[in-house]
């Protein structure tokens, strides 16, 4: 044993010595070390994706969405109370329920404000993963979402509350399917992919997939950039009214949030949707082009604050519900989203991770944990549905319990009571943008602070050249 140890030590020593010598003496241009600054310059993720593009010649389908953190959640903090307002006594239960579509014939009442995001069977997840998500959600008293798919009987049976997407592929868009849903979400886009078209090639379509999507043999599954049948605003308004009349369940709109948010919401309100799902730029996907994920959309935090402000201005705040989604992982982020105006949230990536958490030992180190759950994964057959459902249920329970603890500390008796005034901000620009008070200074000093530092916040005012009508930068 000692002999082997000495041999290994000597081998390591020799290798490192040679490595250091080569790095020291080789010209930089042919030095192996050039990989370090080059990788740092390009970024490890960009480098690998660059290589993938060069190898495959097509957009690379990166799973689970952007790795960039656009929303500065860490710059918002909750305000506990002690005397000014008393914390909630611990024997008082915190109301965690939320109702979507209060004014509909069949409102959707959830026991917790966290739902499972739209992740389609086939396009994204395996049948067993979808069933496990539905079971886990039902155990926690919440809803799951079909994603852009047809109606899968097993998912419908496992989900006590099922939100279905009226989708751009057209697979849920017939009365015999959407009449069996507890809410309908008209899917016009998603945070990770905008409104871009998507195609699942026939080689990735199995018999069960074809059955749920009602595809013929040899047919690709295509998600169009536009919803079939909706070519102008009036078409959309008519569609919403038709679905509301026919079903009586809440009918909402899902969009990828963008700087045009208010213009999109204006039309949604004209159509009298019951809820709007705003999917921020951090939204996940089973696989999408990195450019769509990293370079397009509006961060979730600002999507929520802007949507809430718009609804307040239009006097529909809390009447038309806001469902927030996109990169929400921690209970803190979820509660902050609610404080900014969201009635409920969807979680996708976090739900899948919770689902496989106990079972990831089955895959690593030779396969990623996602191979248990994605439709084309190599190990989907080994996923234990009930175990996964229990993991998800425990995760949801723990998240909501943590949110309840924060609510108690802020003297609230319902999660839906948590508001902007329960937050403070650590960034003046964030304060200005969201209306959350700046934590650096007292409530009374806010006006003085912002008036004294007005030059930093003066709005951009483009000078319009009167004759040409073109816009130029201020001098």
């Amino acid at each position: 044993m000692k002999l082997i140890e000495n041999y290994v030590r000597s081998l390591i020593n020799e290798t490192i010595d040679k490595g250091i010598t080569r790095v020291s003496y080789d010209q930089y241009i042919e030095n192996l070390f050039e990989l370090v600054p080059a990788t740092k310059k390009v970024g490890i993720i960009n480098l690998v994706e660059l290589v993938m593009r060069a190898t495959q010649g097509t957009p690379v389908p990166r799973p689970l969405g952007s790795h960039l953190h656009f929303s500065p959640w860490e710059k918002l903090l909750f305000n506990p109370v002690h005397l000014f307002r008393f914390p909630t006594p611990e024997n008082v239960g915190i109301d965690t329920s939320v109702t979507i579509g209060n004014n509909t014939r069949k409102p959707l009442t959830l026991s917790i404000p966290i739902m499972i995001a739209a992740m389609s069977f086939g396009g994204a997840l395996s049948k067993s993963a979808k069933i496990a998500l539905a079971k886990g959600a039902s155990m926690a008293g919440t809803a799951t979402n079909t994603g852009e798919a047809g109606l899968m009987e097993e998912e419908r049976a496992a989900a006590s509350l099922l939100i279905g997407q009226y989708n751009r592929g057209g697979w849920m868009n017939t009365p015999e399917k959407y009449n069996r849903l507890d809410a309908i979400e008209i899917q016009l886009g998603q945070g990770a992919q905008g409104s871009s078209p998507q195609r699942t090639s026939v080689k990735n379509i199995g018999e069960d997939y074809r059955e749920v999507f009602e595809l013929s043999e040899g047919e690709d599954a295509v998600i169009h950039s536009r919803l079939p049948g909706v070519y102008n605003k009036e078409d959309f308004i008519q569609l919403v009214r038709k679905l509301k009349d026919e079903t009586g369940v809440p009918v909402g709109l899902k969009i990828a949030a963008s700087h045009h948010l208010e213009k999109e919401l204006e039309i949604a309100l004209e159509a009298e949707v019951d809820f709007v799902t705003v999917d921020g730029a951090e939204g996940g996907t089973h696989g999408g082009a990195p450019t769509l994920q990293d370079d397009m959309g509006l961060p979730t935090l600002f999507s929520i604050s802007r949507a809430a402000q718009f609804f307040i201005n239009k006097q529909v705040f809390k009447k038309t519900n806001i469902i927030a989604t996109g990169g929400l992982v921690t209970p803190g982020q979820i509660l902050k989203a609610m404080a900014l105006g969201a009635d409920a949230v969807y979680i996708g990536t976090a739900a899948v991770m919770a689902l496989v958490s106990e079972q990831m030992v089955e895959t690593v180190p030779f396969e990623p944990p996602t191979s248990l759950v994605v439709y084309t994964g190599k190990m989907t057959d080994t996923l234990d549905i009930d175990k996964g459902a229990r993991s998800l249920s425990r995760y949801l329970n723990a998240c909501v319990k943590e949110m309840e603890l924060v609510a108690i500390s802020m003297g609230r008796t319902a999660l839906s009571e948590v508001a902007k005034s329960d937050l403070c901000s650590l960034d003046p620009f964030l304060s200005k943008a969201t209306g959350v008070k700046l934590g650096y200074i007292s409530d009374e000093e806010q006006g003085r602070f912002f008036s004294e530092s007005q030059s930093f916040f003066s709005p951009y005012s483009p000078h319009v050249e009167q004759n040409s009508g073109t816009v130029s930068q201020p001098h």
């Binding site: 239960g93 109702t99 009442t109 229990r390 425990r394």
Partner: protein, 84 residues
């Protein structure tokens, strides 16, 4: 069904819903207590039961809220009937 009979029926529904609301609230508190007790055990199966109890407590809380909403609708209906 004449108006008086309709009002009586609504009143009956309202009182029964109030009973359900009270029962759901009580059961929710009991389930929450069970969760608090069970969560203290260092045993995986008991912890799973605790999580189920907690979830049941929340769902009973939700039933209570649904009852409150239903009673509100019944009150509105009664008022509009009386005014008609």
């Amino acid at each position: 069904m004449d108006q008086k009979e309709l009002l009586n029926t609504l009143s009956y529904l309202s009182s029964e819903i109030s009973r359900i609301e009270t029962m759901a609230g009580t059961l929710s508190s009991i389930e929450k207590e069970h969760y608090n007790k069970l969560a203290g055990f260092d045993h995986n199966e008991l912890r799973d039961v605790a999580v189920e109890e907690h979830s049941a407590s929340r769902q009973l809380g939700t039933i209570k809220q649904m009852c409150v909403s239903m009673n509100q609708k019944i009150t509105n209906l009664e008022e509009s009937l009386k005014n008609s």
